[in-house]
Amino acid sequence: MLWLVDTADPTPMYLQVARVARQAWESGELRTGERLPPARELATSLGLNMHTVLRGYQELRDEGIVELRRGRGAVIRTDVDAAERLRPEVDDLISSAHRLGVAKDALIALIHDRYAEEAP
């Protein structure tokens, strides 16, 4: 997993750290039960203060994506609704439907049809 932060980005560093992990989780690169790197190690790797990384992990905890466990560090929660990962794609799909003038019922029917085609 690639960790990328930019000092020229006005976003606070801890939010950049949280953003990287969140995007990895949404894309499926981070799986449920997977452990994030120890905060001290990631901080050293990125040249950040350990507390900056910890704050980023706490941000992810507050969003319900990770659990912070003493001795284990930050772990992707196993009880996170998998469907929530699709929310960004769903938002994009709805935006596209609005742009093309496709009604809600027509969009839902299209999704039903596609699932039916894939069924064995």
Partner: protein, 329 residues
Amino acid sequence: MIERSHESASKWSDRTVLLICLSIALVLSVAPALVSLTLPLPDLVATHWGMNGQPDDWQPVTTAVITHALIVFITTSGLTLLGSALNSTALLGAFAVGTGTFTTATLNGTLWTQTGDSMPPIGLVLIAALLLGSATGLTAGLTFRQKAQPTSRAEGSRPRATEPWQLSNTAALAWTGRVKVSRGVVVFAVTVTLLSLAPAVFMLTDPWMGVFFALIGLAMACGFATLAARVTIDARGVRVGAFGITFITVGIHEITAVGTRHVEALGELGGWGYRVAHDGTAVAFASASGQGLVLGRGERKDMIIVLDDDDIESAARTVSTLRERVAQG
């Protein structure tokens, strides 16, 4: 990629390592045997112990000494020759030295403890032999590793070069992940560890035997657990480690080239874990076959780390980017 030159006299060839290991095999088999024959041993000596730690078979002392010598020589030299055949002379030679030391310490130790009126528990002898074998094997491994000379690269194993990320100078990057682990290796590791731990449960009549098997099981579990090692790539270099211990480090300044290629764990490396490639051009950490991150290290053997297919591209490009930054100063 880089072609390497043949070595100066200060380095040992595979042939030298082979001869050293075979000489050690001879010494390990003959020397203790000669000592045994001078000791005041009974005419019949215990040569086999049951699961309860008590002796259950006896042989004439001369037969036992000669048999022990043959076992030590055959196993130690056999492992060494196997290593030579697999182009892993240094690695298997060191393993042979360690195993040979363990075997000779066990076989002869159990004889030497029979000179007195009472014998110490067989488990204590096994533990002492295990520690001695581990120490000599590790020493041999470190010595051969230091002295082994690099070899020329074979054609057909050249990796595909990777392009760096295009990032601003204000961006900091790092890559974290794990080595690729095959399901088969996990099943094998768990099975072998459980099998080696099982006798420990039944060694209730001889606690030392229980400790011996528990140590074996623990060592195996730790060894196998390192197969799922973490990989970290940052401005300092590439590191592979587990349990907070880093066992492979390649500094960014050491890396002369970076690429990726497919690696067959059994076919090219002869197995899993920390291995030397059969063609002698690389050392690798592989817990499965798959895409390997290839790090060129100048005159030294390449370092290859097998990662998940989904991760290999980003890992390689991260190394490439960090290398480029070092080159640009």
